[in-house]
Symmetry: D2
Subunit: 138 residues, 4 copies
């Protein structure tokens, strides 16, 4: 399976009064990983929106194993683990120094049209992602 | 079971370019619901931190059923569904107008001491929450 | 001059590793004060956007006098201090317990149309705000 | 004068319902620029905090000239423009493609000790920053 690895450095604004990264930020980083995963397939989510498709989050799950701190350099590892015409599922691992697992999670997405009703992804998009997955498995 | 109901109005900063509330904000609102739940038991999370206990998020799950928009008036309904010496589990429902269910979720929490190692909640805290739960069930 | 007073309680997610409210949140609270000011004039910013007007921030200034902490109950005091066809200026004071001044600031706004070019506010909007100001001064 | 240039890509969570970056995020990016400026002087703000010094924001000013959008690649250009024993002032320019100026601003900072009272920066810190400035001017 193809995985993207997105580097980020923890911002001060992402910490909270416990001195660690506030737990809601991991959803933002998952989203960053997802955006980066698509960009690495030479695909911009912006293009998809311009074409009238919205990929919305239907479910999110996060397991927090160890905290991250200000200025930590992290990796968001993103994989696409399910691809249907009307839904996508991504998995994520947030890694700290020496690739130590800090947080893992998954998000399930539905595809909506301009009218905010469920629709299918454009076939070209599915093909491109499918191809990449198959290359990854081969 | 005792539930707290926390009212909030969606802020502009909580929306994203899809024109709806960004999905990470629901974790912030769950946290608000949790804080409010504890305050309604005449208990401030600040006091617990001052006494050297940190309640950290170990797991979070969110199911998004319908979007919320800028200026929507929402209710965060919070219940404590599990209470052990070293962990707590809360459930949440975010309700829109006419109590329509928009989002639901749960968070699991561990208790850490000043050394960031797992510890037990003070017995007084457990008693107070337990009592409330039992009254609620009675 | 008419001032609105918006109450809020500091959220945990709004704190940072210094143990105080992160300074960027005051811009979000100013925006909340502004939204509330307009709602008190029986005017929703959402309606303005639906009519094709965007009020964008052109300048912001904040002076931080004293920190706020988790669970602090604050007041955002908002006044409209300038109203032209194409611009508005608001002033804000964030007050802590016993109305102690914590933070003050101002924001200057321009009005854009659907094409993101400067335009004038609808006359009806100007009249309503002007009337309120005049009543306030009278 | 020495300037640091920090690259960032706009995150989806940083946009709002106007389809552009929410204006409060620029304060977060200024902070990122500041952290990066210090790191480039081989200096971590984390070290300063561990030594018991807090550099807090006393004033912030932002001028918004043009909006930024999701996935835009931006540069935060940061310069230290004033350095006293008890205060620092930074200036920032946020640049879009072809170094087009989008936003500029400044922040003024005070130095607090563990007791949250004003104090002087450690001399070693001042020397290091002063030296860098002098080299920059030479």
């Amino acid at each position: 399976m193809v995985a993207s690895r997105t580097a980020l450095t923890v911002r001060y604004a992402e910490t909270d009064a416990q001195g660690i990264v506030h737990h809601a930020n991991y959803l933002v980083w998952f989203e960053e990983g997802r955006s980066d995963f698509l960009r690495q397939q030479e695909f911009c989510y912006s293009d998809l929106e311009r074409a009238g498709y919205y990929v919305v989050v239907a479910e999110a799950e996060v397991r927090y194993r160890a905290p991250a701190f200000y200025e930590d350099r992290l990796i968001v590892e993103t994989t696409l683990c399910r691809l249907r015409r009307k839904l996508l599922e991504f998995r994520y691992r947030i890694l700290g120094s020496e690739d130590r697992l800090l947080v893992e999670g998954r998000t399930l997405h539905m595809v909506l049209g301009r009218d905010r009703r469920p629709t299918s992804l454009p076939q070209e998009f599915i093909n491109r992602l499918q191809d990449t997955l198959q290359q990854g498995r081969g």
